[in-house]
Amino acid sequence: MASVTLSALNKTYGMVEVIQNLDLEIADGEFVVLVGPSGCGKSTLLRMIAGLEAITGGEARIGDRVVNTVAAKNRDIAMVFQNYALYPHKTVRQNIGFSLKMRKFPKAEIERRVAEAAELLALTPLLDRTPRALSGGQRQRVAMGRAIVRDPSVFLFDEPLSNLDAKLRVEMRAQIKALHRRLGATSIYVTHDQVEAMTMGDKIVVMRGGEIQQAGRPIDVYDAPRNVFVAGFIGSPSMNLMPATTDDTGLTLFGVTFPWEQRRQAETLPEDVVCGVRPENFQLCAPEDGIDGVIDAIEPMGGETVATVAVGEAKLTVLYRDRRPVAVGERVGLRPDLATLHVFDARTELRR
């Protein structure tokens, strides 16, 4: 068990800054998800913690040890790779036991630990197969087994579920969480899938361009995104972000002014803002009672329905759970729930 502390961490490839002055504190036993679009530096960050990528500047600590120059094998970490990275010429048993063999554990101890890990992951009947003869989900579990067998103080996951089909992904998500609860080891999990991030993380770290945009509990990030990027990235379907203006009378969206009690008094509020409304916080109404638009597309999903409404050039997304007899091409009105409105400074893109 160990905490992970990154301070003023930097990574550059030649002139390109991939990670810029990054600070992050991961508590002992915490499950932290690094999430962001591809190229945001999340995988590089993980690989720097793993010791697969050199640290250009700053300091990485695992526990109270600075690991900047410590070799990967001596960092007491285990990593699960996106493509599993199973040794194709070794059996499941040998794959799981490889790290123990490299560390010269006695044979009986290896045997015992491999059996234990296999039991935990329901791999016992597969121990003598090679990876070739396994399904995607089984390979994934072998990769997990290889990580847990050593009982490392930190687990690193690099998009471990992205090669699985949707159903299996949901299953494995739950399994990994259950495993984390059981082992209690500090885990750092990289994904570009914000649903994975929301559902798995004790804490999520949203990254862009090598910088942390926001870190916090998933619900807090969802409820109060710190800037326009996080607002648009977290949540599915994503938040509607619209240019708006404010004045004493309220908030004006697409020419419609909504009286906005909560914030009208705030003198510091700039005139031009970006207004964010989650799809579930829009209500359909008569065209004259809200923002006037035309239904562009309807995606019924059973439990809920997602409709796209064209307002001039803009496309807004509405999510509703009741049955509504609306059709594509119909004129409708949209009313935002003013209590859950997100307002960002149009210039700095920061939350106000």
């Binding site: 793993a50 010791g51 697969l52 070799a71 990967a72 094998k73 970490i77 285990a78 990593m79 790779f81 996106q82 493509n83 990275a85 040794y87 194709p88 010429h89 490889f98 790290s99 490299m102 560390r103 290889r146 050593r150």
Partner: protein
Amino acid sequence: MTSETGIASKGTRFAAWTALVLLTIWAVLPILWSLSASFKTPLTLYSEGFIPENPTLDNYGRVLSSEGFYQYLGNSLYLAITSTVLTLFVSVLAAYGFARYAFAWRHVLLLFILVPRILPRASLIIPLYDVIARLDLLDTYTVLIVTYTATAVPMATWILIGFFQAVPRELEEAAAIDGASIWQRIWGIVVPISLPGMVTAGILSLREAWNEFPFVLAFTTSGDMRTLPFQLFAMRDNMGLTDWPLINAFTITTIIPILFLYLLFERQIVSGLTSGAVK
């Protein structure tokens, strides 16, 4: 062969088969002739047809009981095996470097290591002879092993580079985290996964050493250093009247071990020489 682009027309297939059959005959006929001759006697060599009327194993008996045969066979085996093992060892390390590291002049070096293969072997003999004489290594196994290795390493390296590059980096990273040193990663992960490449490189270098003739002719003098190809050459030379059936029996005997290896590993060799072409 299956084609994904479409089904060949009957005419195309006929042409392809004809070409393949002709090529096969072209390649195999000399060996068949040699095989046929090896079962005949000097007297019946030209009088009988392609299939010997009274096939005799006498020639093979004479080959196996000929003076020094087992010594020469032993020499050939020893030289081929040691130089192949050495070739693979050196090539694995060289190919790993080329496959995994980006360094200055990489491409130039990659071309340069081919030089020993571009030059005709005969042109190497005189300068090499001079060097070897100065080192006082003439007429030793060492010099043959070293020269065979030196000429086989370029080919083996080129074959292995492609295989090593195809081994996903993550496998090595996983192994590094698991605690494997670079040495353990190369021999425990990269090499086993590249087995078809290893087999291909190994057999090709084994064949080269087995069939090699100019170096053994130039660098050895004593009779007990001879290899099978050398003896084949000497046999022709020493006898006033060439005993063709005997020579052919000798040739076939020399070919058999390599042929056997080829058949044994045919699948790996084919995949070894063609993999990477289609990905």
